[in-house]
Amino acid sequence: MSQLEVQHVSQTLGGVNIIEDICITVQAGSIACLLGPSGCGKTTLFHIIAGLATPYQGTIVLDGKEITGTPGKLAYMLQKDLLLAHKTILANVALPLLLRGVPKCEAYEHARSLFGVFGLEGTDQRWPSELSGGMRQRVALLRSYLFNNDFMLLDEPFSALDAFTKADMHRWFLQVAEELGTTALVVTHDIDEAVLLSDRMYVMRGAPQRGIPTCIAGEVEIAHPRSDRKDFGLSEDFILAKRSVMELLRADQDDAR
């Protein structure tokens, strides 16, 4: 269980102000979703949180320790699946375990045991180029999970999945988070998904390419306990949360025009 704080982060890329003064807090053991228009700077922010880029301003704090610019502290699933073309699927998935010093046999064993849950049976000896887009995405998710299931940073983890596979993965994710007390920050474009998965949603607003730096438009808390999200989609809490987010997003949309 880890707590993440994004404090007053701003970033400039190629001379363009992308995000400005972003503050986000993800409570230990909770799941937060980040929504915002395409190109607003979600991935940019995630790169900073993951320590892969240094922000122009601001700090990232994990469990009270500053980790700005320090990679390797949390699991980061990038938007591109980025499977290493020269490793088999199994080797790709087991890589984070090897990096952590787990012996090869054990790492492969452990990785293989999760292939079923992810609907990847029979693909362990295949090369990445032999998998479909959705399968690659699941491989990338599994890899991130194996690296660190204490804090996960997921950039559109389910976008290439069909409705039912996606529902399966949601169920798995919620269950794992419940069991292990995983903390997570998830980017998604699917509002239903955001409401279903998270305790809190942050909505970003801005259009950096048109000169409007992105900031946080608002946040929406979901009171409904995460442990009880079966058939949540039809509950009032759900509709309420969804409507709030839609309003925040729409305001942004109108704003940007």
Partner: protein, 221 residues
Amino acid sequence: MLPSPISVVGALVGDYELLLHHAMTTLVEAGIGLCAGVSLGFVAAIAMDHFEVLYRALNPLIVLTQTVPTVAIAPLLVLWFGYGMLPKIVLIVISTFFPITVGLLGGMRSVDSDEIDLMRSMGASEFEILRHVKLPAALPQFFSGLKISAAYALVGAVIAEWLGGFSGLGVYMTRVRKAYAFDRMFAVIILISALSLVLMRGVEILRRLAIPWERVRRCER
């Protein structure tokens, strides 16, 4: 001036034993030189990839070793390293490590920076990034370089033997040249070419083994 093919084949067969003896010497030199050159090229590329300072410092130096005509420094090499194999191997190393270094460096620098980001996000050390991402990605270019180097190793050995020595195809070549035995001259040239082809075929096979994922890509979707 050009000997007939029959007389060349005759020379090849007639001098069979002698050629074999000389070829052994040359192959040993080329083999040792190539291994040493590849190792040196490897180390240099990795060091230069890792330390930008080293890149700036070493790059001109390495280029320099390629620009000094070998035959010009050959006498110096003999002076420093004696008459044995050493000066020859040094010469081969000088002419083989360059394509390796250039190929590996080029390959390592062409890695998708997102893949490196991914590795960093998983807390991988520089060494682990090298091992899991940069080196595999540089393999195709490495083998391109190795192909060039393998071709040069044998020729390098032959030229090095002109430095002097008691056996080796280069020694044989100078002797028959001075004796105006053009049929034997062509015989040895053909032998050298044949050996090179075998060597490069070996590199090609190695490449296939080392890059299995290339075969999959060819497969149509």
